[in-house]
Amino acid sequence: MEKGTEKLFLFLILITIYSKIFYSQAIEYSGFGGKPAFPREDNPRTESIFIHTADPGKTIDEGIRVINNTNETKTFVVYAADYTKSTDGGFACKQYSQDKKGIGNWVILDKNEVTLDPMSEETIPFTINVPEDVEVGEHNGCILIQEKKPPSESAGISISVRTGLRVAITIPGEIIRKLSLSDILVKRKGLDKLTLSLSVSNTGNVSVDTDVKVRVSNLLNKEIIIFGGQYPIFRSDVATYNYDVKSPTFGSIYKAKGIVTYDGNAAAVIGETGSSNPITIETRPIYFIVFPTLKGLAIILSVIFFLIFLLLKIIIKKKRQKWIMKNWVQYKARKGDDINSLSDRYNVNWKLLAKTNKLRPPYIIKSGDILRVPPKMDGNKNTFTRNLKKLGKDNDNRISKRASDKIKSVKKPKVVNPNNIHNKLESDFNSKPNSINKPQLKPKSKPKPKTFTKSKPAVNKEPPSKPSVDEISSII
């Protein structure tokens, strides 16, 4: 063999391999299917389904394009079948093995099997033979394309696939186009999800392309969401449409209403837009509660607990104030009294003392100031409580009187000399700007304010080492 011939041979082989690889890479495959072979320009729906109006006994010539957009040569079985309804108002076709009583029996294909190369198609002519004794109205069926291959022997559910085209034949006569609605049903699907279910009944004798909407709004009638779309509803069928409503974060009360619009014109034809008689029917509005999401629920509970805590705090505060106003006694400040000494003497938190008497930093107490202080106790809380009960409905004045009697026997407290305060404040302010306004804290002890005395105007840097427990609060 000559070398030139060998080279030519190798070149041809390479070209073949290259062309095959290139070919397989270039194509994007998209399954197999079919299309009507003779669509009508005046009706775009005829590009995907077969639509005809025919008198009884008439024969219609049609054709179906069987398309193989896969990368393999396949053999397809092409057959007609009767219509059957699927769930949710879906259109489905009966099986190859099932009896054919309607359109499945009317359609006669020129051939029922076709083998197609990859990315190719073939048109199969067929006739639709309308029987003489057929009922007025629309009749539906399918022409189906299914790959011919042996059934799977594996356990479980083996799946085969098929593509169908709807065949809709209308027999002229008294055509009725009428729909009716049922109320929307609310079905719960867990805590934060529910389904709105709208059923539309076709009580006529033709299918109706219907615009179905479920409008969900809040109590202010503000639209939250609209579900729906355009669906064909087949004769004598009840189509149910389910729409899931997801909870808003914090839940809500919603209102839902079903709205259905269709062409009531008896002469209307599927896919044709001509003179129409639009009819709109609505359901009664229904109200329903949508629970919050878990996240929303956690937030709501947190807020509720926080509000309860605040409310309790306010109640306790009010009660304490009421109790103080009722039970604390008046005390006339003396020379040398300051808030620390009064706090120690009456065994009360200095903050409560300051707050009750509306003292502001630097908590100056002048001689002669009238203050409210707890009644002097004998050191035994229970005795004090008993005394309170004994007091009964004594008014403030009577309490004040008793308390002031007791106070007379108490050691004189130190009193802040107001004349020295200004100078001390000025000097402290210049040296430590914040030392006057903020009580200096001692580690691991309650803060005490800085106070001033007449004899020793310097700031008292030693707060009470052990602030007493707020006895009033504990009583409450």
Binding site: K35, E47, A92, L165
Partner: protein
């Protein structure tokens, strides 16, 4: 050399003929349609007798019939001048695989090369040339190995330009002959890479023998077996449903059969036509629809949870459906449809199977 041993000149000739046949035998019966300029883009730099340029070259003739030369576009000025036109389109294609741009024109200098470029999706995608003779004639630029989708083709633009040094170009007619495959509505079970699964199935959970009725569960539409709906037609309405191949009288086939559509409680036999118990339920509403990149789930809805029921004639369960507002020229993958089958008590151990068919119907 091995070829010397197995081949002589005669057999080599036959083999070469065979290979030639393989190469040049058409593998597809794809369709061809001509599309023509239907508008000017903003890049219109040639000279035209009319205000609009595309109207000068859009006459409906095909080669070899001569185009109308009384109206044309021409360029003898700046070499960088370009005329770019929008093109008509073809509806419902699955894919355009080849475009041949035919030009009826001439150049004042014989055998002048003129650039013909394809733009789609707003940018230059393919470059080609035609050679214009000294008098009007048809010439073409062929673009092969294309994978244009419907949207690519919808946005197709064609530009012409050429070196004007010492010459003027005249174009009287221009059109594109597009080779494409027709769009279709289809459903298939594909793996994670989008390749069709040869024997798709739903595996149900294994159960041991039990004196009580029990449930076996499975998932239709796993990542390795996705339900893919592909709609390259212009019609958006369809319904996808699942039914038993044998219809309402079908059953799980094994050593002792059991039913898939008997509504009686505890998988007992009810008042249907057979004497078997058991019922299959599907819950598509738990499923997930994943659209092709660039597409959306608008207009699609999942079916509600349903059970096959011979007594109430539920023989087909809708998995997914689309309305008029759904997209076309897209595919969607459905996964995660839960399947539950009630099994009668004391069902003998063994292997059971049922054949079901997934149907997509344009409606």
């Amino acid at each position: 050399m091995i070829f010397k041993l197995i081949l002589n000149k005669k057999s080599l000739s036959l083999l070469s003929l065979f290979i030639f046949f393989i190469i040049f035998t058409p593998h597809t019966y794809a369709l061809n349609t001509n599309i023509r300029p239907n508008g000017d883009t903003t890049t219109i730099q040639w000279t035209s007798t009319a205000t609009t340029h595309y109207t000068e070259i859009d006459e409906t003739v095909v080669q070899p019939t001569a185009g109308t030369t009384t109206d044309n576009v021409n360029n003898g000025g700046t070499a960088t001048n370009v005329d770019r036109y929008t093109m008509g389109t073809i509806s419902s294609i699955a894919q355009a695989t080849q475009i041949v741009v035919w030009v009826y024109g001439y150049a004042s200098k014989n055998n002048s090369v003129m650039s013909v470029d394809l733009y789609y999706d707003g940018s230059l995608q393919n470059q080609g040339t035609v050679t214009l003779r000294g008098s009007y004639s048809w010439t073409s630029a062929t673009f092969t190995g294309l994978t244009l989708s419907q949207s690519n083709l919808d946005s197709l633009e064609i530009s012409i330009s050429g070196d004007t040094t010492g010459r003027t170009y005249y174009v009287a007619t221009l059109y594109a002959d597009v080779t494409y495959t027709a769009g279709s509505l289809s459903v298939d079970i594909v793996d994670s890479t989008g390749v069709s699964v040869s024997s798709p199935s739903i595996s149900m959970s294994e159960k041991t023998f039990d004196f009580s009725n029990q449930n076996s569960t499975g998932t239709f539409g796993a990542s390795s077996q996705k339900i893919r709906v592909n709609n390259t037609t212009g019609s958006p309405s369809w319904t996808l449903s699942l039914a038993a191949v044998g219809g309402s009288t079908d059953f799980w086939n094994g050593s002792t059969d059991y039913d898939y559509n008997d509504p009686s409680s505890n998988a007992n036999d009810g008042s249907d036509s057979d004497s078997l118990g058991g019922q299959m339920s599907l819950n598509p509403s738990n499923g997930t629809i994943t659209p092709q990149s660039g597409c959306s789930n608008t207009g699609l809805s999942l079916g509600s949870s349903s059970s096959y029921n011979e007594e109430s004639s539920v023989n087909s369960i809708t998995l997914m459906s689309s309305t008029a507002s759904a997209s076309t020229n897209c595919y969607w993958d459905l996964t995660g449809v839960s399947v539950n089958q009630s099994i009668p008590r004391e069902q003998p151990a063994g292997s059971y199977s049922i054949r079901m068919v997934l149907t997509i119907v344009a409606n």
